[in-house]
């Protein structure tokens, strides 16, 4: 997999906390620039600049209302970004599952010493030697 420019644009857009907050707001429904600017201590032009970045990344679209020009969330690029991270996570999880197994092995008494203890018990009580049991 090669990271394409669309995914790059998504990550660039998501890197900013204000833009993430805007997306969070839009996940509840469409909103105009004025409405989006309200919760932020920011001028409308500043908010518009963020909206342009989000729009270029395909994360939002302008709904067909010529007056309000409300912004609307487009979830597809977010899903692509999520899938990208999930693939990366799979690689780490593969490593860590092996580490789980290794740590479990290191915390158990090693096999040779267990065998030695069994051998010791067997010689102390001959009745329980494997050969006798087999009979």
């Amino acid at each position: 997999m090669v990271i394409d420019s669309a995914l790059n644009a998504t990550f660039l857009a998501l890197a900013d906390p204000t833009r993430r907050a805007i997306l969070a707001r839009l996940s509840h429904g469409e909103a105009s620039v004025t409405e989006l600017a309200e919760p932020f201590d920011m001028s409308q032009p500043a908010v518009s600049k963020h909206l342009k970045v989000l729009e270029r990344a395909g994360l939002i679209t302008v709904a067909a209302d010529a007056q309000r020009r409300p912004r609307r969330l487009t979830p597809e690029p977010l899903r692509a970004a999520g899938a990208w991270i999930e693939q990366y996570r799979t690689i780490w999880e593969g490593n860590y599952k092996r580490l789980d197994a290794l740590l479990a092995e290191l915390q158990q008494p090693s096999k040779p010493s267990t065998a030695a203890r069994r051998a010791g018990r067997a010689s102390a009580s001959p009745k329980r030697t494997p050969s006798r049991r087999r009979r």
């Binding site: 990366y88 740590l103 915390q107």
Partner: protein, 167 residues
Amino acid sequence: MITTHQAEVTLPSDREVKVSRSFNAPVALVYRAHTEPALVKRWMLGPPGWTMPVCEMDVRVGGKYRWRWRADEGGAEFGFHGEFTGVEPNERLVHTERFDPGTVGGEHSGGEALITTVFSAADGVTTVTTMMDFGSQESRDRAVATGMTTGMEQSFQQLDTLLAEID
């Protein structure tokens, strides 16, 4: 009952990746598994079908390390190398990391990443948090994409076989 843990990946900033995972083992053991080459070689293998023929680690401040992986099929190789800049046993490891494209090619970002691994213990569970700072978004995205490229070429079905062998 044994709790199973899952790795969590987040992007705390446009140049970083954070990976967090808990283990049912004491912190001293988890630290050993991260710092003793003989142990590191057994789990830090990346995608199925790769081995780690080179794992040299001089774990002390200023000490160097060199890791190299090799694909069983085709024999492709790549690696990482760098220097330890912070070593606090059972607590924290900091090292620089440079990608060595080996035979898999790929662009060399030229950048050096800074990797901070924090070990924290609570109730017999050790959490390992790895923060990777790639210096720029471009380097980060490239590093993550490179990690996945090698992964995607392999069939993940092999993972189960491999885990069964180790168990």
